[in-house]
């Protein structure tokens, strides 16, 4: 009975290796029980649920390995809050449908609350906490600098391991730091956030809301198409809005109209 059913089913089901960055809570991370979790992961789980012909296996790893691994075919798809750039599109398949929205902004001390854009920030000659080179935020700011050669943000590459943006800014080690709003929420705004005590000293100023994408290996066009179908359905069902609220504390789809990248 059921045993043969299972094996039969298994035979038709294709395994998909989904690599996720395991250390960017709340977007993608490994939870205390060693299980994959986070906004992007939850969406992919829903996608998996809609695709009976595929079975997703979530593999935790680091940014470097995820990027290399997806390109090489070690993993079929990777999620790590990836933004869209031309160059990346050459290496990976971007599906037609984006995965989620991400509010990206600056964390600043209260005195600097008037700084609303990168241009303001650059003009004021403020210093920015270093950003890991393979982080999408780095690219966004670099692109800004390319477009505004006369008013550049001082950009330094660093490492997430040693650079704690919140601490950097609050201690005055740098004037501002790039951060995803979801993270800022959970760290500072949330009542049980570890930096909640700094809530009245810091501000988060949104710079942009940006679409994030899953990256597919070049050979996985079929999978990407299947993904497109599934995520369309999820968006229609407003499942994505729910997850955005759940993880980012805010329905970013409200500003979708203004999102231009």
């Amino acid at each position: 009975g059921s045993d043969t059913d299972k094996t039969e089913k298994k035979a038709n089901v294709k395994k998909v290796k989904v690599a996720y960055a395991q250390n960017s809570k709340p977007i993608t991370y490994t939870d205390a029980n060693g299980k994959p979790a986070g906004h992007d992961v939850e969406i992919m789980k829903l996608v998996d649920g809609l695709l009976p012909q595929y079975e997703f296996e979530f593999i935790p790893t680091t940014d470097d390995d995820l990027l290399l691994g997806v390109e090489q075919g070690k993993y079929d798809v990777g999620i790590k809050n990836t933004f869209y750039t031309e160059a990346r599109a050459k290496k990976y398949i971007y599906p037609k449908e984006f995965l989620g929205l991400s509010s990206f902004g600056l964390v600043l001390r209260k005195d600097d609350a008037n700084i609303k854009t990168l241009a303001d920030f650059a003009k004021a000659g403020k210093t920015l906490a270093p950003i890991a080179a393979n982080n999408a935020q780095y690219t966004v700011i670099e692109e800004f600098n390319q477009k505004n050669p006369d008013n550049k943000v001082k950009l330094e590459a660093g490492d997430a391991f040693t650079v704690n943006v919140i601490a950097y800014v609050s201690e005055g080690r740098s004037d501002g730091g790039a951060i995803i709003e979801g993270q800022y929420d959970q760290k500072v705004r949330s009542a049980d956030g570890p930096y909640h005590s700094l809530d009245d000293k810091l501000v988060y100023n949104e710079v942009d809301v940006i679409k994030t994408w899953p990256l597919f290996n070049k050979k996985q066009q079929e999978l990407a198409d299947a993904y497109d179908g599934a995520i369309k359905q999820l968006k229609a069902e407003k499942k994505t809005n729910e997850l955005s609220k759940q993880f980012y504390g805010r329905d970013l789809y409200e500003v979708l109209a203004k999102v231009n990248r």
Partner: protein, 234 residues
């Protein structure tokens, strides 16, 4: 800056300790395979066959010049790619396999230089005396040369073992979670808030292990040094 939270530090220790099994597994497997490789390479370097010795030296140069992360990626991506040419699929192999392979290559290489230099530090007369009383080359090595060379080699071997112990951060880059990886995850899960406490807890664990290793080494060194006198300044 958050207040330093000592209790938090203590709480992290039991969360980290279970992941020591991976750390030790990697360490022991690498020690085993790396040491074998080290002996083979050293034997080639010291041997009389010019091709083998050139080969061994070339391997050493290559290994020395390769950053561990590059080596790990080479093994992790290169090996399956190589195997796929012969229609083997290595992609499903455990990450442990790739980590141990990469570490064994570099550890074996370091060992080969340690073995070579300490072997050469033993006077030739000792070997001659050994074979003159009918010991085979192997016995001469095992019973006379090795114990004397080991005194010289040990401090360097411990240097490399301790380095190896802490290579967890590398294993982590391909997603193999040992204590070091777990510490990273714990930090990430708490939004980098108590990084200091977590890292200190990790250091505490590592340090304890190192102290045990160093103590064992000390005893061994003393035992092997029996009957020998060494230079001092006074």
């Amino acid at each position: 800056m958050l207040k330093f939270d000592f209790v938090y530090l203590l709480e992290q220790i039991p969360k980290l300790v279970p992941y020591l099994d991976i750390t030790f597994l990697v360490l022991i497997l690498t020690l085993f395979f790396g040491t074998i490789l080290g002996f083979i390479l050293a034997a080639w370097k010291l041997g009389i066959r010019p091709i083998l010795s050139k080969l061994a030296y070339a391997f050493t140069t290559a290994m020395r010049c390769t950053p561990s992360i590059v080596l790990l990626f080479l093994v992790y991506y290169g090996l399956p790619a190589l195997a796929s040419i012969f229609a083997f699929d290595l992609n499903d192999l455990s990450k442990l396999f790739f980590v141990v392979t990469a570490f064994s290559l570099s550890f074996g290489n370091v060992m080969s230089e340690i073995i070579r230099s300490s072997y050469l530090a033993v006077e030739k007369g000792q070997y001659e005396a050994a074979v003159s009383v009918g010991l085979t080359r192997f016995d001469a090595f095992r019973r006379i040369i090795l114990p004397q060379a080991a005194v010289v080699a040990l401090p360097n071997i411990i240097n490399s073992i301790l380095t190896l112990l802490k290579e967890g951060s590398l294993a982590y880059t391909i997603g193999l979670i040992d204590v070091m990886g777990k510490a990273n995850l714990l930090i990430a899960m708490n939004y980098e808030a108590h990084a200091l406490e977590t890292l200190l807890a990790l250091s505490f664990i590592y340090w304890s292990i190192s102290i045990i290793i160093e103590k064992a080494n000390e005893l061994l060194e003393q035992r092997l040094s029996k009957g020998r006198t060494f230079v001092k300044t006074v």
